[in-house]
């Protein structure tokens, strides 16, 4: 039923086996974001390398499967890519999440993050999915400045 479209296998996999979890050194910036309505939280560190490379995205946090899986997927998508490319993914992900289920996701840009498409139909959960991604955007801005 509806829940099955929200809890995609890929999301549950990332929740049960988070990728790249744990805060690591070195880093350029660390941010802490919370979702006051549900208490979900994430701490995120970003280390940038030469040529606009994203060298590492490390994180820790607590919360629901959506928020924690979103952080794990973000880690996979952003690490090793460039700041520019990763922010393009963040923008597309944000557009999808805020689209109330009406937006057709660009799978080429989103990769695994497309699994979160179902979340957009649940306004109360959109913030969960966006938590880590907004934290990443914030951390990148702080890293570059």
């Amino acid at each position: 039923m509806i829940a099955e479209s929200l809890y995609q296998e890929l999301i549950l996999e990332h929740y049960k086996h988070p990728q790249g979890r744990g805060l690591r050194e070195p880093y350029d910036a660390e941010v802490h974001h919370v979702n006051p309505t549900c208490g979900d939280e994430v701490t995120m560190r970003v280390k940038l390398g030469d040529g606009g490379k994203v060298q590492d995205v490390s994180y820790d946090g607590q919360g629901c499967s959506i928020s924690q899986a979103a952080a794990s997927v973000l880690h996979e998508l952003a690490t090793g890519t460039t700041v520019e490319d990763s922010l393009a993914v963040v923008d597309e992900f944000t557009r999808l999440m805020q689209g109330r289920g009406q937006v057709e996701p660009d799978e080429d840009v989103l990769g695994d993050a497309v699994a979160f498409a179902g979340v957009a139909k649940y306004p109360a959960r959109v913030k969960c999915a966006l938590l880590a991604w907004m934290a990443y955007k914030d951390a990148v801005v702080r890293s570059s400045s």
Binding site: A3, C38, D40, G63, C64, S65, I66, R125, C128
Partner: protein, 420 residues
């Protein structure tokens, strides 16, 4: 009706929403009455009838509608006063909700407009609350302490979810001006031992207030028998509408308190540089009140009285006993609150290892149409005390059944399968 056997199926027919279907043909299993209750046809019809036939402003219009509306509004005050055993109808102040009632009392303390010694508050004075309070019985007192320099203190909570009275005499002292605690916890279900705390408050000359938002809807509450000074509760949790709450206070205290909000209706006479105020309760009811909502609350207490509050209490007690036993079957289940139904209401908050309450609530809703509340239920300090960010909460009311509890348990087994 009160002497008949409690027939939950007949009760359910009084609540139109309980027979609706959710998208996908799921029946509704509403286990979120601690958050807000559903409304019986009697309340809905009374409010509609008033809007269709009698509506006008209250207290100031001289025409037929004005007088009918005023009569219905004041009739609701009579009904509420009788329902809670208030010694006088003028002791019932209509507010927007329980939060406003609590704020109203907090605002009376340390207010230079007031002159009564009992409400004087400053550095060295103390306010006592508890760790199991809803934010609405924490934040107004924090703000008061900040305004006045008074100190905020609180009762701890035991591991079992009871008020820890072991330090009562050290906590409530001659420095205490007011003790404000919850009557029945909105998370733990715990019913607090009011008499023990009150006895100490009286010995040291402190006033005492109860947040009764979760007790007045669920059990007979007699404010005179309780013996406290102030009681706050809200309409929407007791089959009435939202937008209407109640402050009950001892008349002599209400008269000694300064006004809260200023405006129309709360005055006696106004000059450009000062005003005199209306007698209680109107002194505390500035502006056009929630007229239809108050009348709806009047209908709600009529309905609850018809069913019988003692009958409701017993039904919910049975559900609580059943629910505590049924939930224990779920692997890893941790109930936050007393493990037995003694001095405990039908509010079951719990955690399941490895699964966040938001995921529990989402799957229960999506898959089974079971409405529960997830999160910290506006009691974040209590969750911090138990070292958890959130719980899932099932809360029962007069229209809930053991079948619905069975559905919840089946739902939780499914949730565990999804995350297994």
């Amino acid at each position: 009706m009160t002497d008949s056997v409690f027939d939950v199926e007949r009760i359910r027919k009084d609540f139109p929403i309980l027979s609706r279907e959710l998208p996908g043909g799921r029946p509704l299993v509403y286990l979120d009455s601690g958050n807000s209750s559903q409304k019986p046809a009697h309340v809905i019809n009374t409010m509609r009838d008033h809007l269709e036939q009698h509506y006008s402003n209250v207290g100031r219009a001289l025409h037929v509608l004005g007088s009918e509306s005023t009569e219905a509004y004041e009739g609701a005050r009579d009904a509420v006063a009788a329902f809670i055993g208030a010694p006088g109808r003028d002791e019932v102040v209509f507010t927007k909700n329980a939060s406003e009632a609590l704020n109203l009392v907090a605002y009376a303390f340390g207010n230079p407009v007031g002159t009564d010694e009992r409400f004087r508050l400053g550095p060295g004075d103390e306010i006592v609350i508890s760790e199991m309070e809803h934010h609405s019985n924490i934040v107004p007192w924090q703000l008061l302490a900040q305004r006045t320099g008074a100190t905020l203190r609180w009762f701890p909570v035991t591991d079992e979810g009871r008020l820890d009275l072991s330090g009562l005499d050290e906590l409530v002292t001659e420095r205490t001006k007011i003790v404000s605690i919850v009557h029945q916890s909105n998370v733990l279900g715990t019913v607090n031992p009011v008499a023990d705390v009150l006895a100490r408050a009286r010995r040291v000359g402190a006033l005492m207030m109860l947040d009764a938002s979760q007790s007045v809807p669920h059990r007979p509450v007699d404010v005179a028998a309780l013996g406290v000074d102030f009681v706050a509760f809200t309409g929407h949790k007791m089959v009435g509408p939202s937008g209407i709450g109640v402050l009950w206070g001892r008349r002599e205290l209400l008269e000694a308190m300064p006004p809260f909000l200023g405006g129309g209706e709360m005055i006696e006479a106004v000059w450009m540089d000062h005003s005199t105020f209306a007698p209680v309760p109107h002194k505390f009811e500035a502006g056009t009140p929630p007229i239809v909502e108050a009348i709806g609350l009047g209908a709600a207490v009529e309905y609850l009285t018809g069913v019988g509050m003692e009958q409701i209490r017993r039904h919910e007690h049975d559900l609580t006993v059943y629910g505590l036993e049924a939930l224990a079957e779920v692997p890893g289940m941790r109930i936050i609150g007393p493990a037995t139904a003694e001095e405990r209401g039908g509010t079951l908050s719990f955690t399941i290892p490895g699964i966040h309450p938001h995921d529990v609530g989402q799957i229960l809703d999506d898959r089974f149409g079971i409405a529960v509340r997830v999160g910290h239920h506006c009691a974040r300090p209590l969750h911090l005390r138990f070292g958890i960010p959130a719980t899932t909460r099932a809360s029962f009311y007069l229209y809930n059944t053991t079948d619905e509890i069975d559905a919840l348990v089946r739902g939780l087994h499914h949730v565990q399968k999804v995350f297994g």
